[in-house]
Each structure stands twice: as structure tokens, then as C-alpha cells.
């Protein structure tokens, strides 16, 4: 089966600019996650979707971050405006419905904010 696809692979922007990341999960996976992984740390959950509904966005900085999952398939994560501390790898993962289904990760987008 095809894995989780993410783009772009790398992105460099200046602070206060905006950026968007795209994720295509594994076909049939109802649950989609966006994680932020800062260098030297484990992934931090930003938002979890079940189909096209938000299950958990308690750690999403909503003043600058937004995410959507249209038609319960692809998802986009947007940052506007970006701050220096947003420099990180943004990982998308998908899973079949229910815990403890394994998470299947994409290779991430490495964001550098200068």
C-alpha cells in the first residue's frame, strides 16, 4: 500500500510569513494526525481528525495555526504568521479508526523560519 504522502519536503520562510503543508493519508484511514517535532524532542500532537471532524486540537496554537481535512481525506496545516520557534519538522500520520491502531507517518516537512 502507498504510504502517507507529505509535501513540501523542506520549506524556508521569514518570520511573519505564512506557510502551508499538505498531507495525503493512507487510503481508508479514518484518523489523521499532525505532529510538531522540534529538534531533540519527541513529536507533539497538534491536531487529530476523525474523518473530517476535529477530535483534539487542545495543543494547536489557534492564533496562528489552522488545519482542515476536507472530505475526510487530504489535510492541510497552515501557519500564519510564522515565528522563529515554529522551526521544526511537521509530521502527518494516519491510522485506522480506534486505539491502539498503529500510526503510519509520512517523512515530514522540515520548516525553517529565519
Amino acid at each position: 500500500e502507498a504510504g502517507v504522502a507529505q509535501s513540501p519536503r523542506y520549506k524556508i520562510i521569514e518570520k511573519r510569513q505564512s506557510v502551508a503543508f499538505w498531507c495525503n493519508p493512507i487510503s481508508g484511514h479514518a484518523t489523521l494526525y499532525w505532529y510538531q517535532q522540534i529538534l531533540g524532542q519527541g513529536p507533539k500532537l497538534l491536531i487529530q481528525f476523525q474523518n473530517n471532524g476535529v477530535v483534539d486540537d487542545s495543543q494547536l496554537p489557534k492564533d496562528r495555526f489552522s488545519a482542515e481535512r476536507l472530505k475526510g481525506v487530504d489535510s492541510t496545516l497552515k501557519i500564519q504568521p510564522a515565528k522563529l520557534e515554529d522551526s521544526a519538522v511537521y509530521l502527518c500520520a494516519s491510522s485506522l479508526e480506534g486505539t491502539p491502531s498503529p500510526l503510519h507517518f509520512g517523512n515530514g516537512t522540515r520548516l525553517t523560519v529565519t
Binding site: 502517507v4 494526525y33 505532529y35 531533540g40 524532542q41 519527541g42 513529536p43 507533539k44 500532537l45 487529530q48 483534539d56 509530521l91 500520520a93 486505539t99 491502539p100 498503529p102 500510526l103 503510519h104 507517518f105 509520512g106 517523512n107 515530514g108
Partner: protein, 111 residues
């Protein structure tokens, strides 16, 4: 703030040696997973443990889930350079009610 504590943060050993990494929390997990992440890639699932006291073996890797479901360990026997990577534990359930990752243990196995 990481609710799951992993130790050690970094481990460097030679090929053929054994190693153990730990994952601990003050909260109870409904399930726990171990992942390995290599540079430039996303984490890849190694194992899922669900039952307190459970032991699972995957070739040279042995995973143990504590009786109280608050801690877990990963033991690698006769480590090989291919075992090099960031080992992450991820817990579901507990007081936070969602899937959270620890900070990881960076393992380096030199030939």
C-alpha cells in the same frame, strides 16, 4: 511538557552489546507503542503492548509493559549498527486521554 519520561536520552554502544531503554509515566496507559525513527524519516511502529505484564519479542528486541501499565522497557540483545535510531514510546489513555510521545532515546551502535 512531556508526560512520558524516557531514559536515557542518549546511548552509544558497540556492536554486539546489549542495551535497555525505559519509558515511564505517573499515569496509567491503556496501550503503549514503541517506534524507531531514522534521520529524515517519520517514526515506524515496532510494537504495541496493551496488557499489564505483557512481554513481546521481535527478533532481538524484547518489549515489556509494567504490571501497573505505567512503564515500559525495550531491550535489544546483541545490537547491530542497523539498530541505530531514535526510539520513541507513545502512550494512549491516562489522564490526558490521547496519544502522546516521549522525548525519545537516541541510540548509536558503532561497528
Amino acid at each position: 511538557t512531556q508526560l512520558l519520561e524516557q531514559s536515557p536520552q542518549f546511548l552509544s554502544i558497540q556492536e554486539g552489546e546489549n542495551l535497555t531503554v525505559y519509558c515511564n509515566s505517573s499515569s496509567v496507559f491503556s496501550s503503549l507503542q514503541w517506534y524507531r525513527q531514522e534521520p529524515g524519516e517519520g517514526p515506524v511502529l515496532l510494537v504495541t503492548v496493551v496488557t499489564g505484564g505483557e512481554v513481546k519479542k521481535l527478533k532481538r528486541l524484547t518489549f515489556q509493559f509494567g504490571d501497573a501499565r505505567k512503564d515500559s522497557s525495550l531491550h535489544i540483545t546483541a545490537a547491530q549498527p542497523g539498530d541505530t535510531g531514535l526510539y520513541l514510546c507513545a502512550g494512549a489513555g491516562g489522564s490526558w486521554g490521547k496519544f502522546q510521545f516521549g522525548a525519545g532515546t537516541q541510540v548509536v551502535v558503532t561497528p
